[in-house]
Amino acid sequence: MAAEFTEYEYVAAGTVDVSQLEPLDKETTRIMRDEMSTGSKLTIFYYVFIFMIPILNWHASGFMFSRMWGGMTYTWFVTGIVAMAMAFIIAYVHTSLYEKRLHKYQGSTGTPSTHSEGRNIG
């Protein structure tokens, strides 16, 4: 089970200047870096696709609004059909890569890490 939230007092843990912050442990740093790297790459790819549609609509409208088959234009096909599939494909690739990384982590460290100390969360 994932950790369960428990009530806590608003006891300020205190603040430190960001420059005084201890570096994160290696394992968390690696997990975050891997996750951010994968997520960013997929997001950049996705947004290139997303913004390509209005850019082409406005700057290559002759092509985008020409017909593919019947009354279906290139832009309607991409916006109304391909883009819907793309949302799922990006999410599916992200989940698959995450599961792969998870196996890799568990293979390299043996057991999963236990929950963090220092915060009263159950």
Binding site: T15, V16, T28
Partner: protein, 522 residues
């Protein structure tokens, strides 16, 4: 009276209501706050995925997107495209970490990240603003359906829907809400599939109807008798299939794309759903399933909007349907088209589906907002040492308060477009919670002051640009102002955090918590 009760729309709506009552009765026992606010975190990925879909695919999708496509053509389809992006981004950056954090409400995240009551209070204000913005168009949809197909007044529709919500959420809590949302999603999907099948069976293939619409130019026969000015409605097919009419500039389009694509990450009722998963792995699977369902839904919504337009132009529909399409506004395209395609039974199923959409989404908004009022506001600021039972009772009282609040908002938006109102809610979410969650999960340097500044400035700027845009120069007037408000939200958090520099001393523990592998084996 008996004849009215035997009408398909009445039979299917009563069946839906009966099912809701039965499920709510079965799940009425919420002994703990965890039961009431997050369903005891006991639902698997399939139920949760269906419920996330049910929560996300509101009246804006079921009625609004098709309505916008019917009215605006390609620009309406572009709305659907923008709505389809957000869940994917949420799955990539937020779903897993949010579940690993594991709280009751969206405001808990901020309160815990900074040990801050002020941050919690700012978050509550934003939750209520976004939820109010989102609830009003759902109530509008319900009231319009009741008015058009059951002959009730608009005001009765608002009161009736709010009453159902008080019962549904107040008694069932998150457990009842989750099961109802999951079931209602499949009712809606069934209605869309049957409508699409009826359209294809009737020869209304996608490429053919788009061609027919594109080639139509002139007056639509048979509409004069229903039009207010007594003249046939004019229509230009070429502009309908083109762009640049509703969004007159390239930057207007980009602005909407940014606002809608990033809005989902900041929607409180969607974020809350990720707390109800038993594990982070289940949270990701739920998200993936919801994205798959949403993609299918948006595809059907755009197609059926085009089908509605083709039916309207052909004049082949019954006078009753033509009247609905002329007088009903774009929100009623799906019910009217269903009636034209499959008669009374399909109309009945679509009406039941529309109620399912509205109840699903509203229940999510009600439960998220009741958490903000009862758990974040009352239990934190007004009542120390509150018991579990009192916390649940507070949640139920909050539902009643919200019914009055949202009901009043519903009465104010009688003539608005559902889809566009929801788009504005997305913009507020994208400008407030989206920067907070993305930066809060991935950047240790975010400070309490930065987070509060981001929420306050993001909310203020987005509200100003929505309600007071006429005070701005023409180049800053956007239909959906995401291009301005989203960067302002992100920059507010970043700049204030950089200037403040005071991060919580235990921020590393927080990062370990939300990025740990602990829950993956679950």
């Amino acid at each position: 009276m008996l004849q009215t009760l035997l009408e398909p729309k009445m039979i299917l709506t009563i069946l839906l209501m009966g099912t809701i009552v039965y499920i709510t009765y079965l799940t009425k026992k919420s002994s703990t706050a965890s039961d009431y606010f997050v369903g005891g975190r006991s639902f698997g990925w399939f139920t949760n995925g269906s419920a996330i879909g049910g929560d996300y695919l509101s009246a804006a999708t079921f009625l609004g997107i098709a309505g916008l496509t019917f009215q605006l053509g390609y620009d309406g389809a572009y709305y659907a495209f923008c709505f389809s992006i957000g869940l994917t981004l949420l799955a990539i950056f937020v779903a897993g970490p949010l579940r690993r954090f594991g709280a009751y409400t969206v405001a808990d995240f901020l309160a815990y990240r900074f040990h801050s009551k002020r941050a919690r209070l700012a978050a509550v204000a934003v939750v209520l603003a976004i939820s109010g913005f989102y609830a009003a168009p759902q109530l509008l949809g319900a009231a319009q359906i009741l008015s058009m197909f059951f002959g009730t007044t608009y005001e009765f529709g608002i009161i009736f829907t709010c009453t159902v919500m008080v019962f549904y959420v107040g008694i069932g809590g998150m457990k009842g809400t989750t099961i109802n949302q999951a079931l209602e999603l499949w009712i809606r999907l069934g209605a869309f599939v049957l409508m699409a099948a009826a359209a294809v069976y009737g020869g209304l293939h996608y490429d053919r109807i788009l061609a027919a619409i594109n080639e139509f130019h002139g007056s639509i026969a048979g509409t004069a008798q229903f039009a207010k000015d007594g003249k046939d409605v004019a229509f230009d097919g070429a502009s309908w299939t083109g762009t640049g009419h509703y969004f007159p500039t390239f930057w207007q389009t980009i602005s909407m794309t940014i606002g809608l694509s990033l809005g989902t990450i900041g929607l409180p009722h969607i974020l809350l759903r990720f707390y109800t998963n038993p594990s982070a792995k289940a949270a990701r699977k739920s998200a993936l399933m919801a994205i798959g369902i949403a993609s299918v839904f948006f595809f059907f919504a755009v197609y059926l909007g085009a089908v509605g337009r083709a039916v309207f132009l052909s004049g082949s529909a019954s006078p009753e349907v033509m009247k609905d399409l002329v007088a009903g506004g774009n929100n009623m395209v799906i019910p009217s088209t269903a009636q034209a395609l499959g008669g009374e039974w399909l109309l009945g199923l679509v009406i039941a589906g529309a109620f399912a959409a509205i109840f699903s989404n509203l229940s999510g908004l009600f439960i998220a907002s009741s958490g903000a009022l009862a758990h974040d506001l009352y239990a934190t600021f007004m009542r120390k040492n509150i018991t579990e039972r009192e916390r649940v009772i507070a949640g139920k009282v909050a539902i009643v308060i919200l019914a009055f609040l949202y009901g009043a908002l519903g009465l104010m938006v009688k003539t608005a477009s559902i889809g566009h109102l929801v788009a504005l809610a997305f913009t507020v979410a994208a400008s407030t919670f989206t920067p907070i969650f993305i930066l809060g999960i991935w950047w240790r340097g975010m400070t309490e002051k930065g987070a509060i500044a981001g929420l306050v400035i993001g909310l203020a700027v987005s509200m100003f640009m929505i309600f007071c845009s006429s005070m701005l120069p023409a180049f800053l007037q956007f239909k959906v102002p995401g291009l301005i408000t989203v960067p302002v939200g992100f920059l507010s958090v970043y700049i204030v955090s950089k200037l403040d520099r005071k991060v919580p001393a235990d921020v590393n523990d927080f990062m370990r918590k939300v990025h740990s592998k602990e829950s993956e084996a679950a």
